[in-house]
Amino acid sequence: MGFIRALKGDTGGQIMLFLLGLVAIVVPILNLWVPASSPWYLSTYTVTLLGKYLTYALLAVAVDLVWGYLGILSLGHGAFFALGGYAMGMYLMRQIGERGVYGNPELPDFMVFLDWSELPWFWYGFDQFWFAALMVVLVPGLLAFVFGWLAFRSRVTGVYLSIITQALTYALMLAFFRNEMGFGGNNGLTDFKDILGFDLRSDGTRIGLFLASAAALALGYLACRFVVSSRLGRVAVAIRDAEARVRFLGYRVERVKLWIFSFSAALAGVAGALYVPQVGIINPGEFAPLNSIELVIWVAIGGRFTLYGAVLGAILVNYAKTYFTGVMPEAWLFALGGLFVLVTLLLPKGIVGLFARRKRSTAQPADVTP
């Protein structure tokens, strides 16, 4: 299998996936089978928190794929995450059915409140899980494709591209804030009841979502590894370092960028879709430009250009965030900013750069060995 071979030589990734597997076994046991009185008991709150971190980690992997390996500093990946989240949120809204405050079997509460008489066309199909799941991937992927097609074809690169991606997420935020858009405006989508018939409040469903996040992270990681260890991945790194040179070799740089960028956006959408049922709400705040910047910081802190570094960064920073915002909320942004400055100055390769020696002189890439 190409996916398994993609891990060859990726020691950090092997360790990361092993730990992920371990966590996926231990967490359900500690939550479901250990009595609540035991010190080993893991509360459902913690499980959900961990699940949230895993979706963030998947998002960070998606960002690292385009930033670390392709050199596109996207400051708008939060938008793709939020769009995936909205697609899932729409499905969860339709599942509420008659149990909403207004008891309308057809319309979500906010539409009844706004006096709408029928479901807007773009809500059709979202009562079906398969359709919503498809949209989770398609909507962010297509947006990234159209956006990338316009941007890469005009050879917009570097800081200019970063600024337009930032503008993209900001524009989407403003649009989603409007009630007329039909996505719940300011309040977003919430009050979810169940997913695929399972009650979202039950411990079992929470564990299920946690495991789904872990599986998505593992598969997403393997898929990204497959891309970066293929010849296309080497072309991507070449584009990052010397774009014009790659063009003269006869590669269509725009298309390479376009496909990898769209794939990364779809992956971010999947992360968003798993995030929403666990936190129980999606609102336009997820499009906030600051979110997209923050997730770039996760990647920088963990270690750009190593996919497992992105995973590590996302989990560490978010754990620190949970801790700090609990202890002294006003200090968090200073801590994050300080951490970013320190890492940039002292650890240009991120935390993984501390213990990862480059083994390139001895190891050989998968398909250029004789």
Partner: protein
């Protein structure tokens, strides 16, 4: 007049249309012996004539040196051939049949024109062997590249090129760790991997030691015959060592063309260039 030429061009029966053929399948028609035709090219930047009625012909298999003072239009000429810059007027064709002005940069690379830049730009994060792998001729679309595997034949080809450029022992080193001269050879190796019909080599020996220069001269001479080579170079000693025919450019025009001896005795050339 211009319109008439356009029509003439469109009516030519031997011309291949972009719609009907992808660039990969095109082969230049060299039945008249020439591989490259540049005719009446003009290009100005903000009123400065970088290229002024330039005409240049290159035979198949020839090794040609292009010299000229700074700003003579040497690099701009290369830019036009590779599609990086478009001329204001004139024509450029590869063989009799392929109009270079209608192709994109990557299409021009695909039909067999490879270029080595003035500053060596190898992919520093990749190993020597990976640099050659990326440069290899083949299907360079996104999905075939994603699933590409190295065949034994391709692997042999890489080994051959490693031998030609003398980097066999350094195959698994990062390209960034090579010396300046080795990077230049790697660049030439990357060109060879594309199986080009025409190699454009911009200042190959700038910054090289004498030994490295000798090896580069040997390398370029060994390439002529199988490939057509255009070398742009400042170093006269080096040009004398490799060139059979030399073209002197000055202010965007061809000032003189001939053997090195003819060039060196040409009073016009002495005045503008060698006499400095």
């Amino acid at each position: 007049m211009k319109a008439l030429r356009q029509i003439q061009k469109a009516m030519r029966r031997d011309r291949q249309f972009g719609l009907m053929h992808s660039a990969r399948d095109m082969a230049p028609d060299v039945s008249h012996g020439e591989l490259l035709y540049l005719e009446d090219l003009n290009l100005s930047f903000d009123g400065f004539k970088a290229i002024d009625d330039l005409s240049f012909y290159l035979e198949a298999g020839e090794l040609r040196c292009v010299i000229g003072p700074n700003g003579a239009g040497k690099t701009t000429m290369m830019d036009i051939i590779t599609g990086k810059t478009r001329p204001d007027s004139g024509s450029a064709s590869f063989g009799l049949n392929i109009d270079l002005l209608e192709l994109s940069e990557s299409e021009i690379a695909e039909i067999g024109i490879g270029r080595k830049f003035q500053k060596p730009t190898v992919f520093e994060c990749h190993r020597v062997i990976e640099n050659l792998e990326l440069a290899m001729a083949g299907d360079k679309r996104v999905f075939p590249t994603l699933f590409a595997k190295l065949t034994g034949e391709q692997r042999d080809r890489i080994d051959d090129v490693l031998g030609i450029i003398g980097l066999t022992e350094h195959a698994y080193r990062d390209a960034g760790a090579l010396s300046h001269g080795q990077k230049q050879w790697l660049e030439i190796g990357m060109l060879l991997m594309q199986d080009p019909l025409l190699l454009l080599v911009d200042e190959p020996v700038a910054g090289m030691t004498h030994q490295e220069m000798d090896r580069t001269a040997e390398l370029l001479r060994s390439l002529a015959g199988n490939h057509s080579v255009v070398v742009v170079e400042h170093d006269m000693e080096f040009v004398r060592a490799i060139a059979k025919r030399v073209t002197v450019l000055h202010r965007g025009r061809v000032l003189a063309e001939g053997t090195m001896d003819q060039i060196q005795n040409d009073p016009k050339v002495i005045e503008v260039y060698l006499g400095e």
